[in-house]
Symmetry: C2
């Protein structure tokens, strides 16, 4: 069986980069630097559904993304979460949060805060994320 | 420097069990089977603040707690998250969520849903959690 990205995740985010296990996407919500990691394995809902080897890779890829957001944005706090109550396909949020962001200190989900990227902003953000992810991966 | 549990976490939860790295506590919010893991290391806010060895132990202890909640409650979905925007001491939520719970499908944080355990309910829940955590740890 092949991995197919969930339609709602596809609609709400844009492709950043493929890692060994996960495809990394950026939420279209410009209010927060917000990455979503989706393990490219079919029929997974829980982290525990992955085999042990994949789980180790997942943790390491979450750390790569978290380090990239730290390096780029110097956030007040990282928010890292697997929720998946609405979209069941396994996906992990890695979000840079700031004391100054419009939902702080509440979680971003259901915060009602939504901002669109302009095309130029989105291109710039994707470019900086790709560069920084590559730097973080090389420095490991 | 010694680890001291954050006062708000202490107030909002009760002790379940000490693992190698984390102290495991149960949220006093009886609306959800809700564990909180706090690594017993001083001055940690991010998972990335832990050294690599501790991070590996943390992931494994999160998995133990997640398996225990799965075994005990057969939830619709596990929610696993490090948020920490309000309480900065590093802590990880592992929560059993159900299609029938009063906040579903929203996240539990800021859901406004709060229910108290009776003393008997709390004792029973702590006992079953301790038994099941021990079973899960033994079966590894």
């Amino acid at each position: 069986m092949t991995f197919v990205l969930d339609k709602q995740i596809e609609r709400d985010s844009v492709f950043v980069q493929d890692l060994k296990l996960c495809t990394v996407r950026l939420s279209k919500n410009a209010a927060f630097p917000w990455l979503v990691l989706i393990p490219k394995r079919p029929n997974m809902a829980e982290i525990l559904d992955l085999n042990e080897e994949d789980r180790q890779v997942l943790y390491s890829e979450i750390e790569h993304c978290a380090r990239a957001l730290q390096k780029l944005f110097k956030p007040t706090k990282l928010n890292i979460a697997n929720i998946g109550n609405v979209v069941s396909q396994l996906h992990i949020h890695v979000i840079a949060r700031f004391k100054t962001d419009p939902a702080w200190p509440n979680p971003v989900w259901n915060s009602g805060v939504m901002k669109e990227y302009s095309e130029a902003e989105l291109d710039a953000r994707l470019a900086s994320l790709r560069t920084t992810l590559a730097q973080v991966l090389q420095s490991k």
